[in-house]
Amino acid sequence: MRWATRRHCHVDRAACAWPIRRFLDPEAEFIFVDDPEEVPGDATAFDVRGAELSHHGGDCSFETFLRRYELADPVLWELAKIVHEADLADERYDAPEAPGLDVLLRGLSMVRDDDELLALAGPLFDGLYEYRKRALLLGREPA
């Protein structure tokens, strides 16, 4: 399947690409556009103004994604809090990891193109998922 999003990806788009590749569509092909009107007819748009898989009701696109595909895994929702705060910093959630994640991905986007950024962000979100999963099982931060 083809998936389209805005060029110069940051945290929300990188976060959305991760469950697409991991859970929904391992063969996913990503297209990057400058304007919502450039999204090809056969591609699913995400984190693009006016798209279904975008910001809604104060949620970031990653949260919309989890809702739309009914990904109810509580660990994913822990990640969603971090992504939301890294993207919007509106203090809806307490997510101390968020400023760090924001800087890491912003920095990566300065030295890598969008395809590479999404590829590199994959293992980063894998690790974040594993960490939050262990934290949830332990009831404290894992060492």
């Binding site: 103004r49 910001h55 009701g57 910093a89 509106d90």
Partner: protein, 159 residues
């Protein structure tokens, strides 16, 4: 030498009078971004990729709340009016910095534990203010110094 001119990203919006929640949510988010309210229904920020994106999401929120919103990119025709707008924005963050300075000074009299908690809170607050500070006033450095001094006080062994 004249200051380089700023390119702005602007959100023009109109929201229904009721319900009032979307309006107060929008105001809170605009304030957090450090946007200047040029007129009722017209908010401005210096143009960069992040500010443009944040205003675009707010425009979508306005539309979802049955309002109207458009995003504009533009320049002020008058250099004087631009200086005044920048000064108004600097003044708003200067007040926020001044509050940090006052709290840091007051914390010097507190017990060590309380002082440590205040330090952590003021550091977070300072980060938040700096994120919306586009035309830094002198208070920025003063606030940083006040918090650094409080940090030294916290690290000092109790004697």
């Amino acid at each position: 030498m004249p200051r380089p001119r700023t390119t702005w990203v602007l959100l023009a919006y109109r929201l229904p009078r009721e319900p009032s929640t979307p309006r107060s949510t929008l105001w809170r988010k605009l304030r957090r971004l450090g946007a200047a309210l040029v007129l009722d229904g017209l908010a401005a920020l210096p143009l960069d990729a992040r500010n443009r994106e944040q205003l675009e999401w707010l425009a979508d929120e306005v539309i979802e709340a049955r309002g109207e919103a458009t995003i504009w990119i533009g320049e002020l025709a008058s250099a004087r009016q631009e200086r005044e707008l920048a000064a108004r924005m600097a003044e708003a963050v200067a007040d926020d910095y001044a509050a940090v300075i006052a709290e840091a000074a007051a914390a010097a009299a507190d017990a060590t534990g309380q002082r440590r908690r205040t330090l952590a809170r003021l550091r977070r607050e300072l980060r938040r203010i700096r994120a919306r500070d586009y035309f830094p006033p002198p208070e920025r450095e003063l606030a940083q110094r006040a918090v650094d001094e409080l940090a030294v006080l916290v690290e000092e062994p109790v004697g």
